[in-house]
Symmetry: C2
Subunit: 198 residues, 2 copies
């Protein structure tokens, strides 16, 4: 079924994804069955307000009625806040960084210097300590995707450089803008074969 509330539906879904929690976790928090959440996110059901509020609350979102005149202003505020929100550190989101670390370590290409790889790895170590924004995490994911596609075989040095540059930029951003608090408990460890600090 399609009903005229797509933006709410997709907003809730992306909110969940940004928090990096699964439908089952959200289900536990909100007290709404996972099956129901799935149906809801796919627009299969015309959700009731009480359920919507429950789900929203579990995601730190409130439902507001905004006058048409004000929605531009409101959305810009919301956008600004959302953008600057740190991604909640979970096993899942940190896995994106960990995964990239793992893959990079496996790269053995004649066209890419191990020095360049080391540099990127050290940037990732910084990302691990601070909490990157969801926006920044996406760059990590893109890097992962690219590496997955090329299967680490014919890795184009140009492409690699581009992604590496992106990571470096993020590292700089993070170091300057992220709160200098270290993670309460690193969800994973980087040190399996090296141990130098950046």
């Amino acid at each position: 079924m399609r009903y005229a509330a797509d933006h709410i539906v997709s907003a809730l879904k992306t909110a969940r994804e940004k928090k990096g929690i699964s439908q089952r976790e959200l289900s536990a928090k909100a007290g709404v069955p996972q099956a129901q959440i799935s149906r809801f996110e796919n627009g299969d059901v015309d959700i009731r307000l009480s359920s919507l509020v429950s789900l929203g609350r579990a995601l730190d979102l409130e439902i507001e009625l905004v006058p048409r005149q004000a929605i531009a202003a409101v959305e810009s505020i919301v956008r600004a806040i959302t953008r600057s929100e740190r991604a909640i550190q979970t096993t899942r989101t940190s896995n994106d960084v960990a995964k990239l670390v793992r893959t990079l370590k496996a790269v053995r290409s004649p066209d890419i210097s191990s020095l360049a790889i080391e540099k990127t790895l050290s940037h990732l170590r910084v990302l691990e300590r601070f909490q990157p924004t969801t926006e920044q995490l996406e760059a990590v994911k893109r890097f992962n995707d690219t590496l997955a596609k090329t299967k680490r075989l014919d890795l184009d040095p140009e492409v690699f450089a581009k992604h590496a540059k992106a990571i470096e930029l993020i590292r700089t951003q993070v170091a300057y803008t992220a709160p200098p608090v270290s993670l309460p408990e690193p969800a994973y460890a980087l040190d399996d074969e090296e141990d130098d600090d950046a």
Copy 2:
């Protein structure tokens, strides 16, 4: 039934009332049965999102998901806009002014000079030409309520003066801030026994 969405419910109800439209009118606009709107406004039903959106749209309101961090800012914006919104001119809202005019004309009290009454009446004439904000209209309603309560008998001159002062203030505000457009068509006429312009 009570479910945790009171603020939405009451917001929608007051929005409708501020527009001065009846449940039946809203029903026609939104395509939702009047009975359903009544039950909804009383919190008797757990409304579905599609209905909520329909009702909201008919009232120029959009549903937004706002991060908890942002709701203070958002609400302040919404408040600011709502407060300064011109009341939609309908038979109902203009009746508030007309009613006050009628009641005032009927006042015959030894404690209140007819001059004071005349003055207020002339202010009301200005209010009729311009569109007062909903906030300002409320002062008119309050005056009405007070007069209704006292049944025009033992009207306290102090109280009268206070309300009259409020109306005068509004008249000044309106003359300065309201758009100098006259109403497309005055929903009612003031001139039944006098015709002097202010």
